[in-house]
Assembly symmetry: C2
Homo-oligomer: 226 residues x 2
């Protein structure tokens, strides 16, 4: 019972820092995306495919969260873009303060697109605003069609659902239309793309979505200048 007011206080404080981050992102024309999923749904591999699609010199950066290890940062840094690992040391989600701290020695002027890969967890990260322009939920086809109903919060709050690992559809009892229907029952307006990072199916749909969001986030002054 006594936990509720403190939790609210923590979330209020998180929200305050997130709003500061959001204002800074807007000021510098940074599109910030917060990628959330269960452990093992393929976020890091999706980011590998994403980073390798960008031309060298594009102003893209990644923050990647994990409880332990810097495996993901190692995997992602080979593409030549700035990547930083946030190791939470037990905490089940990223919070706005961790993002603020991780960004302290990066210049937002040099970033157009900042992708945050959250800790693998379909529950807790959905409560913590990181100042992002949009949350994206990744659901792999091995996880079951009912996940949007069982974990509604993150599907409700996400602008886009990426249905990943479609290459496995022939081998798993997963009804993809039902999964999409369930996501739309929770969030009628959610956008959906289907992807496979192994056979690359649907990656162009995801990159096109990203490209539209980046164009919309660009500062009017900057786009006039270039």
């Amino acid at each position: 019972m006594e936990r509720v007011p403190l939790e609210r206080k923590v979330l209020n404080e998180n929200g305050r820092i997130a709003e500061e981050l959001r204002a800074r992102f807007a000021e510098h024309g940074v599109l910030c995306l917060n990628l959330i999923s269960s452990p093992g749904s393929g976020k890091t591999t999706l980011l590998e495919r994403t980073l390798e699609s960008f031309a060298p010199g594009e102003c893209v950066a990644v923050l990647t969260g994990d409880i332990q290890t810097d495996n993901d940062a190692q995997r992602l840094s080979r593409f030549g873009f700035p990547v930083k690992q946030i190791t939470t040391g037990g905490t089940c989600h990223l919070d706005a303060r961790m993002i603020e701290k991780a960004l302290a020695d990066w210049r937002l002027e040099d970033i157009d697109l900042l992708i945050i890969e959250n800790v693998g967890n379909l529950v807790c990260p959905s409560s913590y605003d990181l100042g992002e322009a949009a949350k994206i939920v990744v659901l792999s086809v091995t996880e079951g069609e009912e996940k949007p109903l069982k974990y509604p919060s993150i599907f409700f709050k996400s602008e886009l659902m990426i249905l990943n690992k479609t290459d496995l559809l022939p081998y798993v009892p997963f009804q993809i239309a039902l999964a999409e229907e369930n996501a739309r029952r929770v969030h009628a307006g959610i956008e959906i793309v289907r992807t496979s990072c192994l056979n690359r199916e649907g990656l162009t749909d995801w990159l096109a979505w990203l490209s539209r969001k980046r164009a919309a986030a660009r500062k009017p002054a900057a786009s006039a200048a270039f």
Copy 2:
């Protein structure tokens, strides 16, 4: 900063109730197991295969936790054993109080084996003792070999790791020996079984493990009487 003492208080209170539950389980010869995994690793299907292996009248019961929906209880209740859904309404884990409450109208005299299916979450449930004799972590082969290193707490605390969905091994880039090595790096003594609930590979290993644990948990008086 101020969160820590309160968290400790919550965990202490949880631990106190868990110890009471553990004493009651011991008194009645109930083997209680706490099944933990990411969302979608196949816990419920594993329980379906498990329940269908039992003869009618065996004293087996299941508590199944989810944020929302009673889908899992519906799926599991068709086997004729007592099943109860605990819907946490947003909370990312089960706690001992929820178990105590769910057990209030069940007679422990009538239960030999109580399986608790936790909320799908590889992080938070590992901190909450439910009075179980053992935690079991389920990892599916679609989730990546590095999960024991990224989420060490639950692998450290689990007596058994079930490597599930082995039928998908031909289709995923998953090195099963490396996954087992990683689990043993975190917890040298962890037992491991490999299972597929689709082609039923390894289910006998899991059921044999369960059978050994049940035999060990049986009350001496009761086993003498029967």
